[in-house]
Structure formats: structure tokens, C-alpha cells
Subunit: 268 residues, 2 copies
Amino acid sequence: MQNKNPKPIGIFDSGIGGLTVVKEIKRFLPGEDLVYFGDTARAPYGIKSSDTVKIYASEITSFLIKQNVKMIVVACNTVSSLALEYLRKKFSSIPIIGVVEPGVRAAINSNKNKRIGIIGTVATINSHTYENLLLKKDPSLKIFEKPCPLFVSLVEEGWESHKVAELVAEEYLSYLKKSKIDTLVLGCTHYPLLKPVISKVMGDSIKLVDSAEETAILIKEIILKNNLSEKKQRKGKITCWLSDRSLFFIKAAERLLDQNIRILQKRF
Amino acid sequence: MQNKNPKPIGIFDSGIGGLTVVKEIKRFLPGEDLVYFGDTARAPYGIKSSDTVKIYASEITSFLIKQNVKMIVVACNTVSSLALEYLRKKFSSIPIIGVVEPGVRAAINSNKNKRIGIIGTVATINSHTYENLLLKKDPSLKIFEKPCPLFVSLVEEGWESHKVAELVAEEYLSYLKKSKIDTLVLGCTHYPLLKPVISKVMGDSIKLVDSAEETAILIKEIILKNNLSEKKQRKGKITCWLSDRSLFFIKAAERLLDQNIRILQKRF
């Protein structure tokens, strides 16, 4: 079969969160080469202003385009919420996929009772991007939003199973428990790592939507539709660029992804 | 009396932590004008590498020198631990004061049983700067160190008095409780805001050393010794430069400092 497009897929996040998206892309598209950028020198993004997030995302997108990628995946809910339209206008020659639209699609598919919860960083929740996109698809929905800033710190401390994580989850999620939602969107790429504790607090009947899987499915659709597929038999390579050398990132990548990764550094 | 040196004092931190130092400087030197820089676009520093912290600190020091300051106060334990000597060599024309040396002086003065604990960010603790400086002053000391990364997130979430803060403190401090220290250095400018919970967990008999006050005393000594004093009768002005406009910073500054502050923005 013809080798359609051997260029890599570009992916970025402020730090390690986007690795949950990388994992799903490798599951659905194992032959594709990936170039990942983690902005560890300026992470986290979730407490920063929309202007600053746009500047950082724009620098990284330019850099990935120079790495000759065939598409860009914004594997960060904060950037997807605050800067996706801005990036698409500025870099119109390349497909740019965010994690919010796939998350919205998955939430609509899962939801039955018209009540959907969204959790994310302060910047993501304050942007109301999830709420606006959901209501555009179905104005009869009732949306309940809650920022959960400590969740990222808990994951970065490796305390996903600690009793502190449960206490924090109880505090943040009590409002959503009362709201009678049947679907909760994990609107931050760190949160899938907290699924067990979120599920314990919310109850098993609440469907947790993790946009990583849905994003990988969408990428596969776009790649097949546009003949961008690599069609290699071998396992695709992963190259990681970091703005700050971070042992924590390297350990998390080794834990999450079952393959060797080339790590390089690029400062802005 | 002659007006000796009307130039402002320059102070910087990655974000809001350094405001605890500003508060003490205003108490000891109320007439001095202050120019503060908070690197909110790249905060926090405590998880970043020494190389990256040096680059950021160097950019900010250059910027403050251009603001015509008479001295620089590094109101951040991470920068003071990782980059103070580097900054002093690079900017040798201006006095540069960190928070670690005053913290060490206060710890030695407070300690009786030769056992001292240090808590701080991962970067501060991994640098062992506190330990090295303490042992240089008194090689017979026993030093016990523990990084407490979630403390910063708890303060930034405003959860200083929340039961989560107590549970996190119990987890982090259990090692130090067993170590029979009589003095605990709060080696991060955010931590003084957690004094009540740290004191509750450690017990009233443990002296908590907050380097903010000791730093202000040292600055006053240097200013008097070098005839740098402003000697104004009026209340000194505070100008705050932020790399990212942050409502959270502005609210914290209003809460901590009892005066109007001019807020400006500077990106690197």
C-alpha cells in the first residue's frame, strides 16, 4: 500500500497532561510518528490570562510547524478553550485539533438526562467554552461548571490515591453531586489520572467523559479522510521537546507510554 | 536631615509569595519606595530547573536595574537558593539580598538543641542551600529537610484554614515531628500564610522561622550602613510589575498590603 504521508503529528501541552492524549493516539494510530512539545518552563497554564496563553500557544505552534508536522493536536484544555480559534486563524495552512470539541461530542453522546457537569482549570471554566459549545449543539441542556485547581497539583505530587485527593474531590464535587448530572466532563488532561477517586466521590452511575480517547478517534477520522495516514507497519517514534528539562516529565512519560522517547530541549 | 538616596528598592518573586517580604519591609522602612516584579506569566519556579530559574531571575534583575533601583531583594527562596551567587557575579554593581541568608541567621539565633528542620519547594530542598549555609556556620548542627510542594497550591487556592491543609501538613511534617527539631525554617515565602496550621501540627514548642521579617531587618541594616536611606516622612509608594495580568495577585496584594498599589505589565 502507498505510503501516504510520513510526516509526524505535532502535539502540545503545558506539561505532562497531554501525555494522556499521546497514549490514546498511539492506541488508535500506532504507526504514526509523534512530535510532542511540553512547555515545562512556563507551566502550568490554567492560572494564566487568555493573552498569555495565546502568545505561548502561538510560539509552540510555529515551532511544531517548523518540525514539519502534518497536523497539530492541542492536547491541553486551557489552550483549547482560550486560544483554538486564534490559532486556527493564525495558522490556517494546517489542521489544528483541540480537546474541547471531542469532549463535547462525547458528552452529548453519553448524556441522557440533559444535565452535564464540567470540571477544569480556572482559565478553562472561566472561559465557558465547554458550556457555549454544548449549548450550541443542544440549547435545552443544563450545564454545571466547577474549577478544580488543586487536582493538577495532586497529580503532579503523585497523590492520585491519597486520602487528601478524596477529601479535595469531596469538597470540589459536592456542588456537582447536588446538580443531578448523569455525565461529568474531565476538562483537563491531568484529570483522567484521578478517575478512580472522582468516580468514588460522584458514584458509579455518573459517566466520566475523558476527551483523550475521543480526540484520538477524531484525529484518526481526519487522517483517513484527508489521506494523511502513514500506513507504516513499524511502531511510530515519539520525540519530546521540553522548554525546561524536567525529570518529573521524563518519569511520567516512561510510566504512561510503553516505549523509548527521544527528549530534546527548546527555550523560547 | 539630608535626603540620602531617593531611589526605590527593587524586589521580585515568581508570584505573590514575595508580598510577605514587602509587608515586612514596609513595617521596618515605611518611607522607602518599592518596585516589585511578580513573574506571574512563568510562575511557579519551585518545580523548574536551576538553569531556567537563573535565566528568569537574570531577566528580572536587569529589568529592575533599568527601573533605577538602589538595591535588589530576591524575595523568593527558590531563586535565593539556586541563583543568588550567579546574580551577584553577573550584577556586581548593585547590592543583592536573598531570603535564605537571613533565614539561616534567624534559625541559628532561635535554635537551642542543634536540630533544625527546613521546608520549601522541591527546587529549594534539592539544592541543599539552607543545609550547606547552616552547616558552614555550625558543623555540629543536624539538618532535616522536606519539600512540601502542595503548600503553595493550597495558599493559592485560599485553603490555608481548610481541613485539607491540616491533612497535607500532617503528611508532610510527620518526618520532621519525629526528628526532634526545636526550630523549623519556612523556606518558601508562601508558607508564612500557613503558620497556624503548621504550628498546630508541629506543636507550640517548635519555633517557626519566617525569613521575611529577618530579611527586612537585614535590608534596614544595609541601607543605614551604606547611607542608602530615603529618610522621607511620607509613606513610600509601591509599584508592581507583573509579567501576566493576574486578578488573583491584585486581590492578594490588596489583602496583604494596606495601601494603593500601581500595577503595570511587562512581558519578556
